[in-house]
Subunit: 360 residues, 2 copies
């Protein structure tokens, strides 16, 4: 009456305890072998693997068997400062989409905003895995040289990446098709309005999407026979957008840009108002285009022309992909294939912050 | 080797199992008695309570004993639609503050945005409690007639409310002192600028803070010998702010307000631009004041005069109060008193959206 020793698994499937018993080791030793953690001798490791094979305890069922019952939570770890939610509405919209898909399944999102200290993100993932706190994790902000996919595989923690991995990787990822459509449409729109000197204020170059979009911008200009526009790399903040605009507009009238693309809406709105304070009317003297299509863009005056990304739908797609992955792990006899969820490609929303180029 | 039956409690304190053994009942029966759930006869109930008393197993330690080890997560349930994060930056800032206090303690925030369906919020709390998924929950948006405090006590789930309870209640709550200071300073500022016809666009009247602030507004006007200004009740959305401004500015020039206070910044910015589209310059023809001091207010042109609330600090204070409460529960011999955390009172931030009243 002081505890329960029997599990509640209804099926006749082999358990980790069966593998441990057959191999003559502890459950935690089996766990260590499967998770690739240290402290297990090579012969013991072989015995565990042999036992697993004999019992047809398939590796694809491992994560679930180790986790036991579903936790009804997905995890999200942000190696960012805690004000990321306040300053990056992009992140917030994604979480809105995630929550809208989690709620009907009675799932919650366990959010860890761990700061930018090196190793903090990795420690958080290890703890989530060791304490079996979540069924899987959703990753955002795909980075160049990202080590998270490998780490999570070694932890046997299912993952879904929002965005594209930096190099070919088996991680499940969700992304809208036609990723280049937004920037291309923005450049087309400006060229049609007569702009020839178009600048781009990019985000930090350690992220996959900033590097990708910058290339799309440069390619789109080249394809239209335009000279490369100025590209300034910013920190994704309002302050850095203001600094960028000051730098761009300090150029001589026949050299300074007549239009600027910003890598997100917050920067675009900050840049628009910085221009106005310098005496440049938007769009009369300067056309401005943002990226993301946050609610902010409709609130300001002039309303912001921007590239719409369906971030809420992307958050939903990430959860759908995770659920499919978890279902597939659970039923290794007939794994459900995980199709790419449908998310609309980015598209240009034309409002008031873009207009005909002024004679320079 | 197939499981663990012994706990890991190092201290000599009595456990729920000791109480169950002495009373001659199961652990789950003790749990039912303590949680006030049904299915336990009166004599059995008495036996459990006697055993608890004999072993000095204090009710204040109950929640912790039932929960076992800390979960290293706090919960937050929002009975709102999943786009609340995208549309209500107030909520987002609070979460930023919460996360900044949780991260150093290796805690995460388990977020459930369950939609507005009746009963969904209650079900989520029940599940969090039954599955022991969190150490406690943080409550926001104190409502008139709020039933959450009682529910959480019956679930023995520690709670901290951000804001004031609707009626005297033992729930632990955090709030800045001088709650009326912000609206009072806003009215003073406008009166000093010569405004006599001041309107207020309030939020939904089922919330404690909206009703409170509306009263502060009305009192402040009366104290300055001004006639009651028009008060419009809105839905806290940009759309309802636009509708309110249209209604207010449709009045005859000698009757319409020369200044408007809005219950949040998003409404103020939307209202400001709606006025501009109707041909009213801000602040020349209309002064506008917001509430919250979101990053948005500094990005727009003119920059928004608003009441600053230290939402990040409020989120931090909520977590600090929760940790003190959990520590006190854990050590019933010398409970740490829970002091009110320090949060700065709301204060007016004067920017560009307010100016001298125009002759009407």
């Amino acid at each position: 009456m002081t505890g329960r020793t029997t599990g509640r698994r209804g099926s006749g499937k082999p358990t980790i305890a069966d593998v441990a018993a057959l191999a003559g080791v502890s459950v935690s030793a089996v766990s260590k072998v499967v998770n690739g953690r240290g402290g297990i001798s090579a012969p013991t490791r072989q015995r565990v693997l042999d036992a697993a094979a004999k019992l047809r305890w398939s590796p694809s069922a491992t994560a679930v068997a180790l986790r036991g019952a579903r936790t009804r939570a997905l995890g999200m770890v942000a190696g960012r400062s805690s004000d990321v939610l306040a300053t990056d509405p992009h992140f917030t919209l994604l979480i809105s989409g995630i929550e809208s898909e989690l709620a009907p399944a009675d799932y919650g999102l366990l959010l860890h905003i761990v700061g930018e200290e090196p190793g903090a993100e990795e420690r958080a993932y290890r703890r989530l895995a060791e304490e079996r706190r979540v069924d899987g994790v959703i990753l955002t902000e795909s980075r160049i040289g990202d080590g998270r996919f490998e780490l999570l595989r070694s932890l046997r923690l299912p993952a879904v990446l929002v965005g594209a991995p930096w190099q070919p990787d088996p991680v499940v990822s969700v992304q809208a098709g036609g990723q280049d459509a937004g920037i291309r449409a923005a450049v087309d729109h400006l060229v049609t309005l007569g702009h020839r000197r178009i600048a781009y204020v990019s985000g930090p170059e350690d992220r996959v999407h900033t590097v990708f979009r910058r290339r799309v911008f440069e390619t789109a200009l080249a394809e239209r026979g335009l000279r490369p526009g100025r590209v300034l790399v910013s920190e994704f903040t309002a302050q850095s957008a203001v600094a960028a605009v000051r730098e761009l507009l300090a150029d001589a009238p026949d050299r300074r840009p007549t239009a600027v693309l910003f890598a997100n809406d917050t920067m675009a709105v900050a840049g628009m108002n910085a221009a106005r304070r310098l005496g440049f009317e938007v769009p009369r003297d300067l056309s401005v285009i943002g990226y993301d299509d946050l609610p902010l863009g409709e609130l300001v005056y002039p309303q912001l022309t921007t590239v719409h990304q369906d971030l809420i739908q992307l958050g939903r797609a990430a959860v759908a992909a995770m659920f499919r992955q978890l279902d597939a792990d659970r039923d290794e006899e007939s794994p459900t294939p995980v199709p790419d969820p449908e998310v609309n490609p980015p598209e240009l929303v034309i409002r008031e912050s873009t207009g005909p180029a002024r004679e320079g």
